[in-house]
Every structure is written in structure tokens, then in C-alpha cells.
Symmetry: D2
Subunit: 347 residues, 4 copies
């Protein structure tokens, strides 16, 4: 069985494992107070060209989302997300467990529309009973989105502008930031991302690290971060052997490995996309990144799933089924070739 | 200015105030451990013909909703409600503050559709990733609904049936239970309500009490209530002078005052409904209870609002505005006459 | 059975009930947006000579404590209290349910010692691991205390001074503020209290109201209160018929009824204290307010409890038992006489 | 600078890194649904001789503690721990953030006394107001304790017996379980531990893993675990690349590496203990495990800290200072020799 289930089904870039072996017997202080973390932070600050940015490493995505959201919101505030947003669907209620509502707006191919956001906020403040409602405190979006789609820079600028008008913080979930930025469809750099939000994170897990995410506050002086490390600890995101995160992000950012890993995933995904398209198979959504959502007949699904594993995404009303193929930094040409050959035979 | 803003804009039924005066110097234990509370509980048990029902008095509606919901749910579970449900809109995030997601389904004129509920649950358990999602633990509905509408008995039976199939608790918010049951459109009694849910509450605040709600668990042996009083205290619902709640519910239930109060509100509302209808004015929704939602032109609104106060409910796309008129146990014939006269002049 | 169990075992001052009857059919907006609340706030502002103070009315003490504490703390902060403090013992975990630790310091006769507080804070910030600990964010004290004792003004000034040094908010629980201020042992006025804290509340429940507490922020410009009403709602403290709170506090503060009620309780308590003292009975604590804690032998307890009910407070190691007698605005001379006679017979 | 700061200052046992390298390109499903996790669970079940035990892998200790505690408690319950317990001191309020109070009892050299526990529970239920207090729901202890000390088997049996009498769950934090069991002073095996609690965890982080803890429920049929995976996700403990945990615990438990690692740490600690003792230096506490707490004069501290880093634990009243030296699976003989030589020179 060849797996295209997720972008976290293999280990880590070999360079990372090599570095872990090489540094294994160094003695370092715990909790990120070590020189590897310091250097990794410097590399990230350099990448986004913001020497004063605050960078924190956290053990996983759920902790990252809950910590940043809990940090930014008052007890009466909620976080706005699209209904397909990760925090609204697949965090097992972790956001609500911190006491905050996820205010879900309709997604457009996985994306938040700036105009929808503005209309929601206008209506909210026009409602004379809004003091009895959950107050909007921040906006959460994902780049790339949970459906593999991307915001154009102009779309993000508009969202940022609405956020500014209403005093909302903007947080970008970058679990798949690399796959987004490296897509041929992207018109943004990581530096652009940093310039358009109050916080974002660079996902390591899905771009070749064993695990770990880097949270960046581009303008820390506006983010009141004095207690942020304590909050990371409280939310379970503080790794005892913090240097493991520093070492990984050092390797990922010292010579562009992070971006090469992401680019590889995108390239392999485009081959899959092409193969399905040439086989006349349509997609649930037109994704330019490492997640592809072809729509299969039950027969096609039966054939493909005998040799390949992938996620069943959504049964459709016409009896067909939308599925998800994921590629990663580790997806081999061999596996791609096997898959494209099998797709051809579906015709 | 004559007010039709809410059903809690006057004090309490005079019989209640009289009884408070009469009992004022009795000495009783606190927190509901007094003979008035005991008697009031007995009266309610008799009303629903369930001698073993557990009855608790609480200080207000928000505490009642959070306490019952927190009681029934595990940390991983959420509560299903329609998007127009009170707990999804107007509790200032009190449910989420207890750590639980409100899972919002589309409302049909303020009501939950049993078929929608079943489809949601089928899809949920068919989703291979549902272990990473908020687990549905209970259903919350309101009788009458936030839009004044009513479930037919058969609708409630279907909802209860779906709940049973999926192991969900069913909780009925009865802030306006009286207005619902006394409506000519209702095909249910309080006894029926008790037979179709795991818990419901009888709203005192909106039916002639100063304040206070009575929560009923018709089958306490299934509700694991050992720590429920402690939970009421934790959620801020335990009144020190608990007898105040007992005394009020005694007066409301010893000779039917609760139902007379509710019926009066409904009758006065029907007069308003008739007046708007005869003036050719349409409604946002066809409500058979004490909340009426006529759609006014801006001109009509300007005229009416010079003499009457009522809630602006929702601006409509055509420039008109849906508003809400509320009646209560205290709405006088004089005020109704003044209003109907003014409505006639709108034509 | 004559009850001395609590100071909330009777109804309300007759003047309050009269006013409720008189205003019963007034129509007012809900949630405290009425003229009675406005006037009551003015009366309180005048009483403390702070025309700009922010005043909020809440339905009960638990909600008041959780709301103020949740308001002042960040997610990483806890509230310091003495181990005998109400929030550490008798709130059923309501504070922790909002996500915050109660940091308990040793009580001295129910009181917090400023020096203890300073030593705790010094040690806390000297501890190199304090970033992994609950950060102290505020101090909670009670006036009068849960044991009936009182801070001298100088003690409060010292506590305030430590709070200022460490950036902590100071919150005074005034459930029994009246009994404290009216005690012959008190060297403070309500105006003094307002000048020595960031927030305090005036307890209505235990001083002649049916229920209700008034929270005061003497310097609202330092308290960031923009979302406070929403938080009150979220915590279950916002009364629908808010005017009931306004009316009660109007009556209590328009001609000094609040203070007369409290004084009466203190005077009756002093008679009890004298009776026990003259009978050679010792006290667990020397309380100058409306709670008295005599230590009875089992035999004395048996005799007294046949005719009077009071709270058993604490079994002592020598087999004796400390009990609590409470007086209130409603304690009659007759009941006091009966009790003092019975105490004499204990000898 | 030679570090004895913590037992997590180095990487991982080389065998673990080798296995990570070897398995790096295997494709596995995420979230622990892989064959490595399955095998590791089997190895642990075999170690404790309980074929039906439920085993879960989690990313870190904070998540493990919050998840197990949140799982076992109802909303009204708290967890009993000694005041020096990790959850009471160093979790940044993570337990309270889940809504639960840590009920702190006095520690005796870091340990909970069964008699203290029983007296607390007797007094609790004898208190007529206990329904307004946080209900005790479980007991948390650590083996070895935060001060390196160990429960005798008989002590644990007594604690378990009290727990059974009062219906409390017993949870053992095993962050340093290995160092405890391998100590010459221990009279228990991991199998004994499993037989004396409702849940415990085997700490990987401090015994040679990169990170990760294994939670074991010896009798899963009594632990209601249906939603436990969802709760792990909600609390941020579910690792995407779950196989990393499985692989590490496979290596640790397939031929006793876990125990060898722990034994090594204990042996090295005993050398340090001996050196300090021979130098006439006393200890804050008599620890038989990998944490040693010598009491240094300021002068001694100054000398030692110029070459070695260790934790300052507690300033003492006499001006001396208690410090902590930690050893681990990785502590070299060279470093121990350097330290013992330096200690000798302190005399």
C-alpha cells in the first residue's frame, strides 16, 4: 500500500536527524533557553527581515492555536474563522476548552472573504443587543487553507484592513505555510505574511520536521508578550528538551531546506493533479498546493484504494466521493509514477 | 412612552409580592433548604404528574443554561442548538466559557428539524476524522422558541427519538414555556414536555415572577444529580435567600397563576397580531405566542416609535425593518388599545 | 426553634418590599438600564464621594467574585487570598472554574498579613522557576472577614502598598461590609474603603436586601471596563429585571438604611457576645461584628441547640466545639433575650 | 561549564536516534495509529503483566497531567496533591485552566501521608457546608517525588485504601518513575505500581527519550476511556507523527533500556551524594534517586557554581542555600569525577 494520506506520514528530513545525532550529547538548558533556539530565532527573523520579531517554538499545532488565541482574546471575545477552518472543525473543541467561541463565517473554497467579514462586523455592531453576544476579538485564517487554496496578497490586505478598522487581531495558521508560499500560484513571500498579520506560525511538522511549530509576532511591542512563555507552559506547548525545536528550525532555515521541502511537495502534487485532469477526473476544489481533492466514482475509488491509501473527504450527493491526496517533502518519484499509472488506467 | 420591549419590563404578579410581604419575617435556612422550596417542588411535581422528579430552583436563565449543559456534557462534548438559539446568540459566550462548543444547525423559523439533526449525526459518525471533532453530547431547544414559534408534539417526539438513537440528552429551555403551552397553537401540556426530555426549565422571570427558574429532571435516576447543587453554586445560580424562589413558585403553581399569567400575555399578543394583520402589515414569522415580529416600513417605524418602544429585530434588504413587540402577564388593555389605534392609523 | 444560623434567614427590610410594591407596574428597560439603577448608582457615588466611580449591580455574591476576578486576571494569573477566604473555601470551585488558581496564604484570625504578602511575593520573584508558576495578579480580602474580624485602616494601607509595589489589583469582598463599617472597632468609612482598593462590593443580601450586590470601581479609568457588562452576563450575574437591584439599593442608600441595618446586627451580636462572656464561655476568635464564634462543651451545645439553631463551625481537639451565631438587620430583641437567658442557664 | 541542572539537558539514548533514522522513510498513519505504537503498547502491557491495560502515548508531561486529571474529575471535583507536588507548583496553572482546584495537603519530604489524607476526607465530609466546597475527586502523587523521595509499597497501599474508601481515583505521575523504581531504596516494580493506582505514566523525557510519556490505565474497564483520544487531542497531547512516540517506547522497552537508563542516573547520583556526605555537607532531604539537594554555604556555592551549573532550590533562613544536582541516563563518569573532585576541595 502506497500512502498519500497525510503530509506527516514519514519521519523528518535526513539533515534534521543528522543534526540531532551530531548535537545529541551537548548539554543545554531546558525549555528553549539554549543557543540552538537562539540561532533558529535569528534565522527566522532574518528570513522575514524583522530583527525585532518575537519568535517562540512550540511542540505542536493544537497548542499553538490555543495559546495564541487565548493570548489575544479577553474572556468575552471570540475568534472569527471560516466554517471549514481547522480550529472550527478538527481541534476537538480545544479553542472552546479555553473558554472562547469560534465565530464561523461561510468559507469560499476554504477562504475567508473580506467583504463577508466586514458585513458581519457591521451587522454585529448595529445590533442593539450585541453587548449580550460574543465580542469579535480576532480573525484566524490558514495559509494555505485546509482545502489547499491560497489567498491573493490583495485579499489578505483587505482582510487586514477590515481587522484594523474594527480593532481585531489577525492570526495566520501556517501549518502548511511552506506549501502555500512555494506554490506557483502564490504571490507572497514569508516576509509579506509577516507584514500582514499580528501573529503567524511556521509549521514544521508538515514540512520535514519531526514536529514543532514556530510562532512569530512580527511587532512584539504591540503584542504584550510578557507572560507568553508561562501561557505556552500552561497550554502544554513548552518542550522540556526545547533545543530539539531549535535544532530542527536551524536546519530548516539555515540554507532554505524549509522552502525546498515545501516546493518538492507542491511539485509532486501538481503531477497528481495533472494525472487526474488528463484522466478527465474533476476536483472538489482547484488547489494549487500539496493537497488535491479529486472526485472519484465508487468504482474508481475501489480500484485506486486497493493499492493506494488516501483520505475520503466527503461523500457527494450524486454518489461520487471527494477524496484527498497529500504529498510531502518525502513523496518519492516512484510513488508518484505508480499513482499516475494507476490513474491512467481508470479511464 | 408605552413599552412593548420585553416580557420582563414590569415587576411581579401582585400575589407574589403579597406573599413575600406576608412571609418576610419567617426564619428559614438558606440555599433552598426551606419549607417553601419543598412545597413549591411538590406543586411542580404534581403539575407534571411525576412524584419522583428532581426540581431545583435557580436565580436566572444564564446560570440555568450553563449549569444544565455543563452537567450533562463530558469535556469533549458540545451542545447542538439552532443558530438562532439563545445559547448560540445571546448568552455572551457563557456556554463556551464552561468549555463547550455550541454546534449550530440551521433553524427553520426558530425551530430545530429532526431530520436535519439526524443527517448531521449520520454525517458526523461517518466522518473518519470525527475523533478529532467536538462530540455531540446533547440537544438544546426552546419552547416557545426565540422567535415565538412552537414545536408540534410530533416534532418533539421525532427529535427525542433521534436523541435516543444517538445517546444524546435533550434539554428544553422554558424561559417562555408558559407562553408556549398556553398558545392556542400548542398541542402540548407541561406533562407532555416532561415526558419528552431529560431536563427542562420553567421560566419564572418572563411569567410574572420577580426572577427565578425551576429546573426539572423528570427521571432523576438517569441524571446523576449527586453533585448538582454544588454545580449550581459553582455556576452562580444558588440564591442565599433560596426561599424567595420557593415562595414565588408556590404562588405561581398553587392555583394556576403561572398559566393565567402566560395566557394573558398570549391573548394580548394576539390582539397586536390581529391589528397588524388588519393593517396589511406582514410578519417576519408567524408567531402564535407573546412575541410578534411585524415588518415595518421606515415611515411606519418612525410613527410608531414616537409613542411606543419595542425592539428593532433585524433590518431587511428591502429597506424595511422587522421589529419585536412583546406582551407579558402585565400588559394592560389600555396599552393594547393605544397600540391598536396607532396601528390602524398607519394605513 | 429560634434561628441564628445566618444573616440571610429572613426576607428584606420592609421599606424595600414597600418600594417594590409601589414601583411594581412601572415599565422599565431590562438589565439595569433603568432610572432606579441610575439613581442608586448616584447615591452610592455620593456615599463614597467619588462622582466618577463605576457602579454595577449583580444578582449574587458568587457571580460578583468570579466576574471581578476573571476581569482583573490574565489567563496566567491567580488571585491571592487567605486560606479561610470565602473564594478559597465556599465557592464550590467557582474561581477555578474560570481557570484561575486561588493562591492561599495563612490567615491570622481570618485576616491577610501585609508582611506575609510581601514575603510571598519576594520569594516568588526570587524563584528562578517562577515563569512556570501561577503568576500573582491580584489580592482578595474580605471586610469584615469570614471570621467576623476587621482590618485596621493601617493594615489595609500596608496591603495596598505591597499591591502597588508588585502591580497587583486589590479587591475587597464586602458581603458583610456594613457589619464591618458599623462595628465600634472599625476605624474606617465606606469612603476609606473606596480609597484603598481597585474594586469592592457592597453586599445587599446580608444587610437587608432580598438579594443583590453593588460592585464599585472607584477609579474606572484604571479598570478597563469596556466589556464588563458582557462579562457580568457571561458569568450569570446580569438580572433581567435589573431594576429590582436599583430599587433595593435606592432604598438602602437614600437615607442610611444600609448602615442602620448593619448597626442593628452588630448591636444584637454584641449582646450575644456579652452573654457568652459573662457565662465564662470563650470564643474561637474575638469578633467585633455580627458573627460570634463561642466555644461550647458538648453538653452546652446539646442544651442550646434544643431551642436555637446555629452553625457548627469546627470541632476542636479537646472535644469542645466552636459554633457560629449570626445576627442580622432582622434579629429581634425577643430572640436575643431568649438566647441570653438560655446562655445564663448554661453556667 | 558542566551541567547538572536537569535530567533533560541532553538529547536521547543513541539507540533511539538510530531507530528513528532506520524507520525514517516508513509510511505510517498519523496520531498513533501505527504499528510501532501498537508494538510499544504491547511491550508495556507485558512489562506490567496486564494484557488488557490501556496505553496512550502523549507528547509531554503537562498535557499528560491535565488530560488524565480532566478525564477523571467531574466539574465540581478537585485533585488532591501535596503542596510540593508538580501540579500545585510548576504547571503554570494548567490544572486550574481546566477548571479544577488543586487541593494541597502538607508534604512530608515530598510525600503524601495516608493518615493526613484520611483526616482531610473525614473532616471534609463532616463539614455541614461541604456541598459548597470543591469535592475531592482524585489523588495525585509522584513516584519518585519532586524531592527525589520514594513511597514504600505499604505507604502506597494505605493511600490506595483511603482512596477506595472515599471513591477517589489515584493517579501516579511517573515523570521520574524509572529513577524511582531503580533506586536501591525502592521496594516496588512497575507491575506493583500498576496494581496500586487507576492510572500512571511512564516518563520518557527524563529517562532517555527525546520526549514523550506513556499513560497507562491498568484496568481500562473502570476508566470509561471511550473519548480519551479526543481529550488528548483537545489538551494538545496528540502528536501528528505519533509513530515517533511508538518508536521511542519500543526501543526503551524491548530489552530494558528504560531501566538501564534510569539505573545509570541513580548510580551517578549516589556518587554525588557520597561525595557531599564525605565532605560533611548536609542535605535538605535524604533522596535515594537522581535528584540530590545538598545545602551549601554561600562560599561553597560560589566556588562550585564557577565550574558547574545546577539549580538553586531554596534559600534557607541561616543564609545557606539548598541546591539541586540532577543526573540522567547521559551523565558521564568524567563529569561525575570532576564534580566529586571539586566537592572534596570544598572542605
Amino acid at each position: 500500500m502506497i500512502k498519500f494520506e497525510t503530509d506527516y506520514q514519514e519521519g523528518a528530513s535526513p539533515e534534521i536527524l543528522e543534526r540531532l545525532v551530531k548535537t545529541n550529547f551537548e548539554q543545554t538548558s531546558g525549555y528553549g533557553e539554549d543557543s540552538h533556539c537562539q540561532r533558529a530565532k535569528e534565522l527566522i527573523r532574518k528570513e522575514i527581515n524583522r530583527p525585532n520579531a518575537a519568535v517562540y517554538f512550540m511542540a505542536g499545532g493544537t497548542q499553538t492555536n490555543t495559546t495564541v488565541i487565548k493570548h489575544f482574546l479577553t474572556p468575552c471575545e471570540g475568534v472569527i474563522a471560516v466554517n471549514s477552518g481547522h480550529i472550527n472543525v478538527h481541534e476537538s473543541g480545544a479553542i472552546e476548552a479555553t473558554g472562547h467561541k469560534v465565530i464561523a463565517l461561510n468559507a469560499h473554497d476554504g477562504l475567508l472573504d473580506a467583504e463577508d467579514l466586514r458585513l458581519y462586523l457591521e451587522a454585529f455592531y448595529a445590533d442593539p443587543t450585541h453587548e449580550h453576544m460574543v465580542l469579535p476579538g480576532m480573525v484566524y485564517i490558514s495559509y494555505s487553507s485546509e482545502l489547499g487554496t491560497l489567498y491573493k496578497k490583495s485579499m489578505l490586505q483587505e482582510i487586514k484592513s477590515v481587522c484594523s478598522d474594527y480593532g481585531l487581531k489577525l492570526f495566520i495558521d501556517g501549518a502548511r505555510l511552506g506549501a502555500g508560499l512555494m506554490s506557483d500560484s502564490s504571490d507572497m513571500t514569508m516576509q509579506d505574511i509577516a507584514g500582514l498579520c499580528d501573529a503567524f506560525y511556521i509549521g514544521g511538522t508538515k514540512t520535514g520536521a519531526l514536529f514543532g511549530e514556530a510562532v512569530i509576532f512580527p511587532e512584539p511591542e504591540k503584542a504584550n508578550l510578557k507572560q507568553f512563555t508561562t501561557l505556552i507552559k500552561q497550554q502544554g506547548g513548552l518542550l522540556a528538551k526545547g533545543r530539539l525545536l531549535g535544532i530542527q528550525f536551524e536546519v530548516l532555515f539555515e540554507d532554505g531546506l524549509y522552502f525546498r521541502n515545501a516546493k518538492h511537495a507542491d511539485i509532486q502534487a501538481m503531477k497528481i493533479k495533472k494525472a487526474f485532469s488528463e484522466a478527465g477526473i474533476k476536483f472538489l476544489i482547484d488547489s494549487p498546493t500539496n493537497q488535491q481533492f479529486p472526485i472519484l466514482t465508487r468504482e474508481q475509488h475501489e480500484k485506486l484504494s486497493s493499492k493506494f491509501s488516501y483520505e475520503t473527504w466527503q461523500p457527494l450527493n450524486d454518489g461520487n466521493i471527494a477524496v484527498r491526496f497529500c504529498t510531502s517533502w518525502a513523496t518519492t518519484d516512484y510513488n508518484i509514477d505508480e499513482l499516475t499509472r494507476a490513474i491512467k488506467e481508470l479511464k
